[in-house]
Amino acid sequence: MKKWSALAFVLGLALWCQCGKKEPAITAGKTTVTFWHSFVSSTVPALNELIAKFEQENPDIQIRAQYIPTGDALIQKLITSVQSKTAPDISWVHSDYLEDLVEAGAIYKMAEFIDGPDGLSPAEMAQIYPALIQYASWRGTLYSLPMEATNLALLYNKDLFRKAGLDPAQPPRDWDELVACAKKLTTDTDGDGKQEQVGFFLPIFPATGPLGGWMVWQWLPFLWQAGGEIINPEQTAVLYDGPAGVAALTLWQNIYQELKLSTYTTDYDVAFASQRLAMALDGPWNLPRYKTLLQNFDWGFAPLPQGPKQKATIIGGEYLTIFKQSKNPAAAWKFIKWIIQPQNQAYWAMKSSYLPINRKVLEVPEFQAYLAANPNFKVFVDELEYSMASRPIDYNGLQITRHVAEALERATVGKIDPATALRESSAKSNALLAARTQTGSARP
C-alpha cells in the first residue's frame, strides 16, 4: 500500500504543478480574445491604452495581448501553435506568411466577416490605402487587415549638416545629392583609417542572417525609384535584374565604396544618438523613442530622396488575421473592425506614431492638430500618398527575397559588379519559378 500511496502522491504533485502553470484566471462572463503581436517595448504603453479604450467601449470583451519577437520566431511560433491547436484568436502576420497559413487552412478569409452582418461597406473598404490591401492579400484574396502603416523616410542630423557647411533646410532630394551629402558628412579627421563620423547608414546585413529580408525591404524603394519592379505580373520571371535594379544596386555599391563602409552593424540608432552617424533610413516606429533618446541636438526627418524615374517609398505595416481555431471569431472581428475606424486609427496613430491606414483619418481635427505640432510625423504621413507596396510574390517569396539579399551583399561587401550579382541571383529565382510552372502544383 505504501508504494501505491507514494506513487499517487508523486503523480498528484506533478499534476498540481501543471495546473499552477496556467495563465492568470480569465474574468468570468467576458469573452477573451488572445492577440499576438511584436510591438517593441516603447510602443507597448500605447498599445495598452488602445486596448483599454476598446474594452471600455466593449465591456464584454477582454483582449489578452501577448508579445512574440518578430521575424523567424513569430512564424515558427505560429506554425507550432496551429499544429498543437493552441493558435491565438488574432495575430500579427506579414504578407510572407500568408502563403503557408492559407495552404494550411489556418486563417479565415476576411470576406467572411466583411460581407457578414457586422461587416464593412465598400465605401469603408475604399478608405484604406490600396497598397495596404495588396499586402494583406494573397493571390488576390484578402486574408488580413492592416492595423497600422509604416513607411521609410530619411533621418538626418541638422547640426552635423551645419558643421559640414550644408543647409539643414535642404536635405538631399535625389540620388546624386544623397551621395554628395553622405560623402561630405563622412570624416576621418585624424587619418587613422577609422571614421569618427559616417554620412549615411547603408543597411547591409548578412543575407543568410535574420535581417536579410529587412535589407531587401529597404532596397525596394530604390528599385522602384529607378522604375523597376521585383517580379512580373504573371509570376513567371523576376525583374529585379533589369536596368532599374542595376541602377539601384550601383547606387548602393557607390555609397558603400565612397563612404568606405565596412562593418555590419545594426545599431544605427545608437550611432545616430551619439552623433557618429549623420543620415539613415528610418521609419515612424522610432519616433516615440527618439523624442526622449535624441535630446541634445537638432535632428529631423525628410522625405526619401527621389530616384531617376519617380518618387517612391515603401509601405509596410502590420496585418491582423483571425485563426480558424479561434473560439471567438466574432469578438476577434469586433476588435479588428474597431481598430480600423478613423477615430480609433487617429487615436492609435497619435499615441504610437504609426501611420493611419485610413484616408479619412486625415480629416479628423485632432489628427490635423497633431500633424501641425509634429512636423517629423507629418513627413511620413505626407509620404503615404506615394508609398508603394511591393508586388506580391505568390510562391517561394522567402527564397526569392533571399536571392535578392545575396545580390545586395555580394555587390557591396563582395565588391562584385552589380549586373553580374543580380543576374546570378535572378537565374536562381527564375529556376525556382520555372520548376513550379513545370510541376504545375502548389506546394503541399
Binding site: 506554425i79 497559413l101 551583399e409 561587401v413
Partner: protein, 297 residues
Amino acid sequence: MAPSRTYTASARKKEGLSALLFLSPTLVIFSTFVLFPVLFSFYLSFHQWNMFSAQQAFVGLANYTRMFRDPEFWSVLKNTLIYTVGTVPLNMALSLLVAYLLNQKLAGKKFLRTAFFAPVIISPVAAAVIWRWMYDPNFGLVNYFLTLVGIKGPNWLNEPHSAMFALILMAVWKTLGFNMVLFSAGLQGIPDTYYEAAEIDGAGAWTKFWRITIPLLSPTTFFIMVMSIIGSFQAFDVVYVLTSGGPMGATKVLVFYLYEQAFKFFEMGYASAVAYFLFLLLIVLTLLQIRLMKSKI
C-alpha cells in the same frame, strides 16, 4: 547459487514485467523525444512537407537528388570540411599541450584548469556575442592587441576568409577545456613507473613524451578525435550567433543550411534528407576512424 525450484516461468515473467515498469518512464521519454523524431525524420526525407499542412506529399528520392544537385549544398559541405579541418587538429593539439603542462608540478594548477574549462560552460550565445565585439575592426580587443604589436588587424567578420578563421579560433577556445579535462584524465592514467624506467635508460623529455605518453594516450586520443569530428560537423549555435552564416555564406555550415531549409523556408522533407545525409556521413567517418586506429589502440 542454483535457482530454487519455485522459480517458475511465470515468476520470471513477473520479474520481467516489473523491470519493464521501472524502465517505462525512461522508455517513454526516449521514444517520444528521440526515437520518434529520428524515425519520423527518416519518413519525412522521402516527402515534401511545410509543417502547416495535414498531409505530406511522397516524393521518393527527389529530396536526395535535389541535395546532390544543389551547388549551395556542396559549398556548404566544403565550408563544414574546412571548419572541421581547422578546428579538430588545432583543438586536440592545444588541449593536449595544456593538459600535459598542467600535469607537471605547477603553481596555480587548479586556477588554470578552471580558467581553461570556463569557456565550455559559458552559453554559446553569450560567448558569440562577446567575441563579436572582440572582433569588431574598429573597437574590438583583438585588433587592439594586434596594433600593440604593430599589425593592422583585418575586418574579421566581414571578409569571407578571415570570418572562417575567426570562427575557428572561437570554436577552439570554446571546446579546448573539455578536451583538456579528458586528456588530463588520460595522462594521469599512465603509471609513473614507465617514466621512471625510461629515465633510468636515459630518455629525455621529448622521447618520454613521444614514446610513452602518446602511445598510452591513444584510447583517449581516439575518443576525443571521434567526438570532436562529430561535434564539428554538427556545429550550429556559434555560427548562428557569430556570423549568421555570412559574410556571403562563407561560414555557412551544414547544420545551418539544414536549419534554414527547415525553419526559414519550411522544407521539412528536404531538411530531413540533409539531416540523414549528415548522419550517414558521420557513421562512415566514424567507422573509417575505428578501422584506421584498430591496430593502434
